[in-house]
Amino acid sequence: MSGGRIEARFADLAREDRAAFVAYVMAGDPDAETCLSILEGLPDAGADLIELGVPFSDPMADGPAIQRAATRALDGGMTVNGVLDLARRFRTGDEATPIVLMGYLNPLLSYGLETFATRAAAAGVDGVIVVDCPPEEAAPLTDALEGAGLALIRLATPTTDAARLAIVARRAGGFVYYVSVAGVTGDKPVDAEKIAPAVARVRQACGLPVAVGFGVRTPDQAAAVARVADGAVVGSALVDAIAEAVSQSRDPVALVLDTAAALAKAVQSARAGGS
């Protein structure tokens, strides 16, 4: 069962006065076994939390990199059961690193929300992000997840004003994912200075740690985000590393973990290095 891994991890990091490095990979990209090797290597590479993408045929909030990752995963036969299986196998070797699933609503609806929540919790999943399920539509999903002890991670964006922030905060759990740019994943680069006040506002309104994603690609960007937020999420850059390795017939595991390690190092030293 989940047992508060997200809370514990952010509390530990707060004591160390550093932000979390959150690594996103798509489940089943490029195939299930390689993906498991990547997952198993991520904590040692410095990932503090893992976001595991649940592939969907129609990812309307994702840019080309994650679209293609979803296609690779689906072509390889990845399913919701397959995603839960990856989480469960990862969890047998790592009791502490939180896993958050990130995807779209329809595969979960099709699976059955209660069944999904129960099985995800049993697999060692800690939270779920559903991109196309805003708070107004989230009651059934939140009920199911909370019933199983999982958090529905809420999203806030540059278009979320103060009035909406109150709605976003209402049943928020785990942490809040602040989408740094109005755009799709892997699109425009983040401007850490510009988002600092927004991050503070979200943290204040929700009373939860705030991780910032979309547009965080390079170690420099990750470090800049780590200075103003509680976590920096990197997705497209890691997914691109997988694609690059596959296209060049190189080992995706090594390339992704090297990329992750460089990002993790930047995040870890961001605050010590002065802002």
Partner: protein, 411 residues
């Protein structure tokens, strides 16, 4: 199939959250949520503003050419030997389909909201052409997302859009048809939240689009009611329309929904046949799910992945259906039938031969079910069919499918 109790007043739907029973809603990323809510508020204001309605009415009359005629199809009626067949001639509207009704309404709304950049998705290109037309009319930037496959098979409409000053962006992801064009338009909207208005072409998408597009298309049924009263002194016995996203169908049905005596038939595209899985019949071959901002019937696999739709008609080649139709199906108010590619092609030729009207392949799906409906209603009854568009855009598709000259001498 779900069975919900029928409501007392069909016109009272959707509720404030955009729900038709369990269907509809606003399943969009948080970035879009404030925009969708603002659009709902702006539309509610415009709808209640007499000046907006007068302005829209002026353009519908003087620019689009409304009202469209309600024409008694004598030879088709004789051929079928059942109920009297009337055709609601939406294909005579400016730009050649019902799509202009919705585009005029939404472009006036976009202007009211101060938006300068218009984006749209299109399948057959009829909505894209109508959208490009109203953008030209008001001097607004227009970007149309169109599946690369549809760019090929609807080439004349791509030329028309370009001529009208729109930029057509081919979409190569997925099956490169309407669903993928809509994904890409949504991605554009998420990335351009300040200045962009997304002009959706059917009764699909998040609330308020399904209700707004329905309202703008409801003029079809409102006119039909008056025109038939003048011609026959009564209401129709049955209405029939093809269903892609469902805008021409709900446009015809809406004014009659509370009139229980009026039977209604929506015709979905069965492609190669319902047994083949190569079809586009969301109600007849799908189950409820969430796509493109709304809950409705969808073609999907056991794991909730959306399946590609298949239809000879680009405008029906979509794996979903508007949420109001999903609800009207569940409560049993409208019957959803299907027609295959081959049946639509037959009806396409028949209509041309008997009435001198070349229908759009989309509309031909509705025509294909006419024999059954005319027989069911019987002699002495009246059936109105929505001839949603004209078929010039489809000539290349039909010729490629049947071979040049194959139509000669048929019927």
């Amino acid at each position: 199939m779900v069975n919900a109790p029928p409501p007392n007043d069909y016109l009272a739907y959707p509720d404030a959250q955009g729900r038709f029973g369990d269907y509809g809603g606003r399943y969009v990323p948080e970035t879009l949520m404030p925009l969708v809510l603002a659009l709902g508020a702006a539309y509610a204001e415009a709808k209640a503003d007499a000046a907006f309605q007068v302005e829209l009415g002026g353009y519908l009359t003087n620019y689009a050419g409304r009202p469209s005629p309600l024409y008694f199809a004598r030879r088709l009626t004789e051929h079928l030997g059942g109920a009297k067949i009337y055709l609601k001639r939406e294909e005579l509207n400016h730009t050649g389909s019902h799509k202009i009704n919705n585009c005029l309404g939404q472009i006036l709304l976009a202007r009211r909201m101060g938006k300068k950049r218009i984006i749209a998705e299109t399948g057959a290109g009829q909505h894209g052409v109508a959208c490009a037309t109203v953008c030209a009319l008001f001097g607004l930037e227009c970007i149309v997302y169109m599946g690369a496959v549809d760019v090929e098979r609807q080439a004349p409409n791509v030329l028309r859009m370009n001529l009208l000053g729109a930029q057509v962006r081919p979409v190569t992801s997925g099956a490169a048809t309407l669903k993928d064009a809509m994904n890409e338009a949504l991605r554009d909207w998420v990335s351009n939240v300040e200045d962009t208005y997304y002009l959706i072409g059917s009764t699909a998408g998040p609330h308020p689009y399904p209700v707004m597009v329905r309202d703008f298309q409801a003029v079809i049924g409102a006119e039909t009611r008056e025109q038939l009263l003048a011609a026959e002194g009564r209401a129709p016995d049955a209405l029939v329309a093809c269903v892609g996203g469902g805008s021409n169908a709900i446009g015809l049905f809406h004014a009659f929904l509370n009139d229980e005596a009026v039977r209604m038939f929506g015709v979905e595209a069965a492609g190669d046949g319902m047994a083949t899985r190569r079809h586009a019949a969301a109600v007849n071959g799908g189950r409820p799910g969430v796509l493109h901002g709304a809950k409705s019937y969808l073609l999907q696999d056991a794991d909730g992945q959306i399946l590609e739709a298949h239809s000879i008609s680009a405008g029906l080649d979509y794996p979903g259906i508007g949420p109001e139709h999903a609800w009207l199906h569940d409560v049993g108010r409208v019957r959803y039938l299907t027609a295959t590619d081959d049946e639509a092609l037959e009806a396409f030729a028949l209509c041309a031969r008997l009435e001198g009207i070349v229908p759009a392949l989309e509309s031909a799906h509705a025509l294909a079910r006419l024999p059954q409906i005319a027989a069911e209603v019987g002699a002495g009854g009246v059936v109105v069919l929505n001839l949603s568009g004209r078929g010039d855009k489809d000539l290349a598709t039909v010729a490629a499918r049947l071979g040049l000259g194959a139509l000669e001498g048929r019927v």
